[in-house]
């Protein structure tokens, strides 16, 4: 599996670290909304298909990336820097 880092270009997956589901919305640090925190920590879509994910190019430029990966085929559909803060759009 290759992930194309926006800075480094295509690299083997071994250079990357999975940082989790990219669909999560972290509540404000002061939030006492337990449902929101519960959803942030536990609720996952677990789709069989395109999935928004956060990866870090930990063995390369160390940038955090938004990656859309198909969980059935491992096809990587898009990559972008995460620093913009915007979610990557899925194909669907």
């Amino acid at each position: 599996m290759l992930i194309t880092c926006p800075y480094c270009g295509p690299r083997d997956v071994i250079e990357f670290t999975y940082q989790g589901d990219g669909n999560r919305e972290r509540p404000q640090p002061a939030s006492q909304n337990l449902d929101a925190w519960n959803a942030y920590v536990y609720d996952r879509l677990n789709p069989a298909g395109d999935h928004n994910e956060i990866w870090q190019h930990s063995g390369g430029c160390r940038a955090h990336l938004r990656v859309v990966r198909n969980t059935l085929t491992h096809e990587v559909l898009s990559t972008a820097f995460a620093r913009g803060g915007h979610k990557t759009e899925s194909r669907s």
């Binding site: 926006p6 800075y7 480094c8 083997d12 250079e15 390369g60 430029c61 160390r62 940038a63």
Partner: protein
């Protein structure tokens, strides 16, 4: 200025650094390995949006025209610079004291300067089989069109992080953590045995 000189550095490679020809060199030496021991190795980082100002500071302080773009780099023999991550650059000088030269120029509004002169070890591999040996170590494309002269790459070899700059058509400079440098060096020597190597 002698009182301001840094203590003399010892090479972490020293116990395993054996000048001379090694491996299968009966038909010639196809790579030359050496430690370049630059006096200054700096890491510069620009805040988001300040990259061009930092590149301008590098030009003013070192005279190096750093190309703007992912992994862009340049060298003139004595000094070298290359991008290794978004907004981040490695700048190297044969001489000590480059951090002092940058200190007033990189203002807090532009970014940061980290002096890694004592934290990194610089290893050079040169020769007709340099690309071949490097390709055994790192899963990146070392062909000249994909990895142009002066360009930099961040990658790793068995979890030993490495920054690589192409400093010649058949020459690469590899920057590794000092604490891992001897292990990396030994592995590089083993990898070079099949083509015949000389340590200079």
């Amino acid at each position: 200025m002698a009182e301001h000189q840094l203590p003399e550095r010892q090479s972490p490679l020293e116990p395993e650094y054996h000048p001379g020809s090694h491996g299968n060199f009966e038909h010639g030496v196809d790579v030359i390995l050496s430690e370049t021991r630059p006096g200054s190795i700096l890491q510069l980082a620009a805040w988001a949006g300040e990259e061009k100002r930092l590149i301008e500071v590098v030009r003013k302080v070192t005279g190096l025209a750093l190309p703007d773009g992912a992994g862009g780099g340049v060298g003139n023999g004595a000094r070298a610079a290359f991008g290794f991550a978004p907004g981040k650059f490695t700048v190297v000088d044969e001489a000590e004291g480059l951090a002092q030269a940058f200190a007033g120029a990189i203002t807090p509004a532009i970014g940061t300067l980290t002096d890694l002169s004592h934290g990194r070890t610089a290893i050079r591999i040169a020769g007709p089989k340099a690309e071949w040996v490097m390709a055994k170590f790192f899963a990146i494309d070392f062909a000249l069109p994909a990895f142009p002269l002066g360009a930099g790459r961040s990658t790793n070899h068995h979890d030993i992080f490495a920054q690589i700059q192409r400093s010649g058509a058949d020459q690469f400079d590899i920057y590794v953590f000092r604490s891992f440098a001897r292990s990396f060096w030994k592995a590089l020597c083993h990898a070079s045995e099949e083509v015949g190597y000389e340590v200079q």
